[in-house]
Symmetry: C2
Subunit: 471 residues, 2 copies
């Protein structure tokens, strides 16, 4: 019973892969996560856009690991790590000693010091984030349908996505698709296809981590969908009314009024890295050595989005799932060898971790995507097929794969979305902040709610009766 | 453009059926609901028990009615009805005039004057209710897994269902199934099969609306699953610790400590009935005439759970979906005739509404159910097959049918549940109430969290270190 104890913090791509890699190792493993489910993050935007249900892309961690008897799963949050005494403590006050530690707690949305923006511009990291964005987006169309004021209707149907990385590009494309194809037929007074989607990116181009020609392909495909792209644009403020920004350096501040702003601009390692007593970089990542271990603590490792690992080329490895999973397998193998050979890790000669980059891809919408793998560069339908295949393949659990494929096939053929549910509050987009200014004006009596054929007239007939959405 | 205007309040079984029944009628219809989705209530317990996803049993109302161009759907809540002036006002201040009104806003959980019980014993009427119950139930097992105190572990794994009608019976059966088959393999320190489920019913038998032999069949099948049934039991109090009750009249009050209590004991018509200026009964229902119209207002109707309709036998029709749907079709037909013939409803000679009872059924778990239709009475596997067929058949939308069937087939074969997600707070069962007494005690350091082989020892080794969950 005194097998060496491995604690894994986090049940995402890295943590779960690490646990599974210990399947035949003579260790006992405790995996701690503050959520009960593993989440297939690359498809999270599909939940936010009502394409998939939360259960389609998430599985209970303990269910995934049920048959692996050397793993215990605990729902808890790690509060502190004592690297010297080799112990962790949790939020509920439990203390656990370890022989080996693998930190894989990932990252969360980062607002670059503007935490107050989060309430107006939710990020997309958890299922709760995704269903909240879904609520806000779908609710905007509902509120617009019963809105008599033209300016407010425009405000409700304007969506800003901040951040031109893969998540931002996927969200922006999916938003236009939702309004153009899915919702178009369902409303009587508004025309959902007129919804504006603006993608703002601080750098000079979207998908900056991709080769330049694929960036251009993405811009072209986004344009086909009707997404407005603003690169080189620095966001200076976000509130309940919209976004303030500078279109370029030294240009004056402008405003864009939008009921919905989604944040896809940056992530930061979870707070835990700050408690290790080790240097962290600007994104909160802790520097690790060539074997993913923490400096001075060969038995403690950090992998995935928590770790700053310097690759062969002197650059940091990107925060993508293949890095976390490869580091997980490497680390588990190293620990297993140390246990089997009965040697301390420091005395074990071993090769350093090498990341094998299989390529990256981003989807832009139905039949639209970009992908690169080595010298291969794809865009359009063929890239989308590759994206589809890879993502379904890697989804954990056979049931999920079938359910997702079925849902996609259905959506592809019918342009429908199965998960268009608004749960939670339906009175306002920003429930806790919207009371003062942008509360919905009372529609004009009766006439404001015509029930047929009034779409065109309605648009121009009503003078502004309420304060503009913002000033 | 001046077609007669029909307002339908509520998009459940009654309201949606009414809207669809106006498909070829020369009227314009406005359907108002405060939720954006139609909900297939009979399967709601499956969402609460992690068997189905919300999107599997719900469809956006406007999507269902997208092709019916004479219907406008509004997401709003009706605040008041002015029967004299034939107008309604909504929470957002809109006022709409009608020529015909169909009230079909349904019912909500009723706590018999004890509104304070709701926070401890959520009812099961909405998707939010269902995912909240799912959160609490799944969380109880998670908290038990990391709990060192035997008494608190028992408390966490005790579930009380109040109300022995179909919903209560289905919930109780599904809870035992969840613990016995689904969760059994996934935990290391607790044995989920030891979870207690107690079904409390005030009357002398469960499923009181069914024939007595089917009640007995249900009791037998619940017993096979391990559900403890307490009939003739009156609940006197519910708090964060559990339930106080009287086992029979004049017997002293007893207590049962349980972390989870679910309310399935009663429903009450939505508040709207109280604003009509007409008499309502104890369950908040407004009495309607033989043609479902409100007394003195032949152009205004109330159907489904809002209405007290006296049937042929002098008894009120039950609050089940077939009543609402048949009343909806009847009412729509009546209105359509009046419009086509150009006569006021009061002058239209018409037959009174007659309810055709096709039968009722309740499921108790995998392969277990009871059903009656006319003289036919079924129980066990054959009743379950009938239940399955009828429920999938009536689920709106082909996609949902396929998804539900697939999910069920998968669950049946593998004993898995796809939707075992805890979203929202994970620190306490009753987030806003649990701070004082039943906050989780800190587990004992290290030893309190063994990671393998410790299940048996753990159960008896730990003296009580924290206050009992209740006294």
């Amino acid at each position: 019973m005194s097998l060496p104890h491995v604690i894994i913090v986090g049940g995402g791509f890295g943590g779960l892969t690490a646990a599974q890699s210990f399947k035949r190792s003579p260790v006992r493993v405790t995996l701690i996560d503050r959520r009960n489910h593993y989440l297939f993050q690359p498809l999270l935007y599909q939940v936010a856009m009502a394409g998939l249900s939360p259960a389609d892309i998430a599985s209970p961690i303990r269910s995934v690991l049920a048959k692996q008897k050397n793993v215990t799963v605990l729902l808890d949050q790690v509060a502190d790590v004592d690297l010297g005494r080799k112990a962790i403590t949790t939020e509920t006050g439990a203390r656990l000693d370890y022989d080996f530690l693998i930190l894989a707690a990932g990252a969360k949305s980062d607002y670059f010091g503007h935490a107050e923006w989060e309430q107006f511009a939710p990020g997309l990291k958890t299922l709760t984030d995704a269903t909240e964005i879904r609520r806000r987006v779908l609710l905007a169309f509902e509120l617009a349908e019963r809105e008599a004021d033209e300016a407010r209707r425009r405000w409700l149907l304007t969506f800003v996505v901040i951040g031109g990385g893969p998540t931002g590009v996927e969200l922006a494309g999916a938003l236009r698709e939702l309004s153009q194809y899915v919702l178009a037929r369902d409303f009587r007074r508004i025309d959902p296809t007129e919804a504006r989607v603006i993608l703002m990116e601080g750098g000079p181009r979207v998908l900056a981590s991709f080769p330049e020609d694929l960036s251009q392909a993405a811009v072209r495909q986004l344009g086909e969908l009707g997404v407005e792209i603003r690169t080189g644009t620095r966001v200076t403020d976000i509130d309940a009314h919209g976004v303030a920004f500078q279109a370029s350096q030294d240009s004056p501040a402008e405003r864009l009024e939008a009921a919905n702003v989604v944040w896809a601009a940056g992530v930061r390692a979870t707070r835990l890295t700050g408690k290790l007593g080790l240097p962290i970089d600007r994104a909160g990542r802790v520097s690790v050595r060539e074997d993913c271990s923490l400096p001075g603590h060969p038995e403690a490792f950090a992998i995935g989005d928590m770790a700053a690992f310097t690759g062969e080329d002197g650059k940091l490895l990107p925060g993508v799932s293949p890095v976390a999973m490869q580091q997980a397998r490497y680390t588990a193998k190293l620990v297993t060898r140390a246990v089997r050979e009965g040697k301390p890790l420091a005395e074990l000669s071993h090769e350093k971790f090498r990341y094998f980059d299989k390529g990256t891809m981003a989807t832009i919408g139905r039949s639209r995507a970009v992908a690169e793998s080595g010298r291969l560069r794809l865009s359009g339908f063929i890239a989308w097929l590759a994206w589809l295949f890879v993502h379904v393949w890697y989804l954990i659990g056979h049931r999920n794969r079938v359910a997702v494929l079925l849902t996609w096939a259905w959506s592809y053929v019918t342009y429908e979305r199965g998960a268009r549910l608004i749960t939670g509050r339906v009175d306002a987009i920003h429930p806790d902040t919207e009371q003062p200014a942008p509360a919905l004006p009372a529609p004009t009596p009766s006439r404001a709610l015509p029930t047929d054929g009034a779409r065109q007239e309605e648009r121009t007939s009503e003078p502004l009766r309420s304060p503009q959405p913002s000033h």
